[in-house]
Symmetry: C2
DNA sequence: CTGAAAGCGCTTACAG
DNA sequence: CTGAAAGCGCTTACAG
């Protein structure tokens, strides 16, 4: 049987003061704190020592209204067995920022509906509310997001998400500027025929596509060719590769490093290499664990600032929580991206037909 | 303006019942639960949906209920940057078991006192109590453990911990049996002169040492030599290696794989190899990321069942939480270990002096 | 400077 | 079957 813990009332009795005096002494930020005499303070501290009193966090939370809990809802496992967690870098940033802002981190494992796919409204019940605010990673269910929004629960999405019902707060990587910049650079190197291959057409793809198109917008050269299409990994065959290259494409942008890897391998089989025959760049740095080290060093990749994104999400949430009694506008942040050094991009020299 | 969160009172009003009826419905384990009519239950559930009500964990805790929250307090980062987290495999097991037992997982990031070292009683406040029970990993501060114990807060330590104040619940790897078994095997292979090198003398070392001594206990052969000492990584030099081997030691047990690696390297420099000249085994599989792949495959290592240990901790805690109103005995579990296949152990043939 | 009191949102006897 | 009420241990106006 668990004994009852000493309470502020016990401390107060021992020190010969009222319970509220104990509370005031224990909350130095309160405005009454300065008014307590040193002599009283010492008597109370002594009583606290004497009883080894510790404050009851649940009671404090209940009386004060906050949990100092930030929820994290991932569409998958936070601790995957293979350690190459897609979400890991975000979580690193989140954990660090939680420490910095004095929050505990609540992983919503209960929202697991099996197969690792997670849902906010399991049992039709938003139990995110247990946390003062939550960070959402990779949830695809836009209906749930819309519903969360309507409930005015403070949450921040990591990655861009647009729902028809209105603006939600998010922290995204600036794929638009990144993609535009790298393509501009390639155009500046003499490339004229370009291709953009994506895997799934999602909100991030949309931004990359906008960047891609923006870089091309001012080009009026005749004879330009711009391929843009969805491509599954299996479709990246030597034959398709030959088709693309023979059509004259020399600058290739793919969304994922593994796509770039597949492309480079396929090209090698038909005797084409990068950057001699074509330049290629990956517009993310996901799933690097699946690439051979050689490719890892060669490939030019867009580096997603995952740590910074995680940390920014906590910061935004912290502000939302602090101002939770005032009207709130959604906060949407895009963080600049950089590119890794690599050798898969080079100048294009027009071959002269003889 | 964010609205106040809906409470049971709001739900009750909407459903036209009393607040306590809502509470009873929300706590199916209570004895009154069966007495509520289906019709009432449905009306209340509908109201809950309608308002997106979710229970306030602080209030529930304060009033004596449960949160379905399992706390995890690690002495370090749960999401370290390099992804080779020492704690990662435990966390995998904990997360899985939390899903299985329907708990959310609360990472106590607030207990970080800087430098990643974490403390339960930061500000003299045990805020673990917001969780129904907690799992502790790697905390070295035995005073804090003793204090936690006195408070009768349900917690389980991962790894063996003994404090003078009494028994605490833990889940440990069975180093004793593992060490004893592997040494028995080596003795069976003809080894007579053995050495046991450890790094820090902690509770796990103590168990390994007991296993080591137990295996030797029945040996009465004359001329036995048993070295046992603490060894820092830097002390593992070719010179020391020569000293040990020339003294006649042929069976070496080291606590950490990196120690084994250092030993093998040092031995190679003086022309001795394993298993021809000596047999060596590591009594853990920690920090494998720092070993070259070749060693990884050769070295015989004790495999710590980290996933199983994490999962077992959750299970124990779940039972402690369920029985929290009854007197509790500490639960101490040791989980059997296995050894990896490897080639660093072999038979010893006595060399005949000519 | 200090205390009495309301209230945070629940659970759980207790009474009907 | 359901409700009124006490109480969990705090914080925070409010009153002296």
């Amino acid at each position: 049987m668990r004994k009852k813990q000493p309470t502020q009332a016990d401390v107060a009795k021992l020190a010969g003061v009222s319970q509220s005096t104990v509370s005031i002494i224990l909350n130095p930020q309160g405005k009454d704190h300065l008014l307590i005499s040193d002599e009283t303070r010492e008597r109370v501290q002594a009583a606290i020592q004497e009883l080894s009193y510790v404050i009851n966090p649940a009671a404090r939370t209940l009386a004060g209204g906050q949990n100092r809990l930030i929820g994290v809802c991932i569409n998958g496992s936070a601790f995957p067995l293979d350690q190459h967690g897609f979400y890991h870098p975000y979580l690193v940033g989140i954990e660090e920022a939680c420490i910095g802002h004095d929050y505990d981190m609540l992983l919503f494992t209960r929202s697991d509906g099996g197969e690792g796919a997670r849902s906010i409204y399991r049992n039709g019940l938003n139990h995110l509310r247990i946390a003062d605010g939550s960070i959402l990673l990779g949830l695809e269910n836009k209906e749930e997001l819309a519903r969360l929004m309507k409930e005015e629960y403070p949450f921040v999405f990591i990655g861009k998400r647009e729902v028809p019902e209105g603006a939600i707060s998010y922290v995204a990587a600036d794929y638009y500027t990144g993609t535009k910049a790298v393509l501009m650079k390639m155009l500046g190197m003499g490339h004229r025929q370009t291709a953009f291959f994506y895997r799934l057409y999602n909100d991030a793809t949309k931004d990359r596509e906008r960047g891609y198109l923006a870089a091309l917008a001012n080009r009026t050269d005749p004879g330009l060719l711009h391929v843009k299409r969805q491509l599954t990994d299996k479709e990246i065959t030597p034959a398709y590769c030959r088709e693309v290259l023979d059509a004259g494409v020399t600058a290739i942008l793919v969304e994922e490093p593994v796509m770039a890897h597949a492309f480079i391998e396929a090209a090698r089989l038909i005797g084409r290499t990068s950057p001699a025959d074509f330049s290629i760049v990956a517009l993310s740095d996901n799933d690097l664990a699946y690439l051979p080290p050689a490719i890892l060093h060669e490939l030019v990749m867009l580096k997603i600032p995952k740590l910074a994104m995680g940390a920014a999400a906590v910061q935004i949430l912290d502000q939302m929580i602090a101002q939770r009694h005032k009207p709130q506008e959604p906060v949407q942040i895009t963080i600049p991206v950089t590119f890794s050094e690599g050798s898969t991009i080079g100048p294009h020299f027009v071959r002269r037909e003889i």
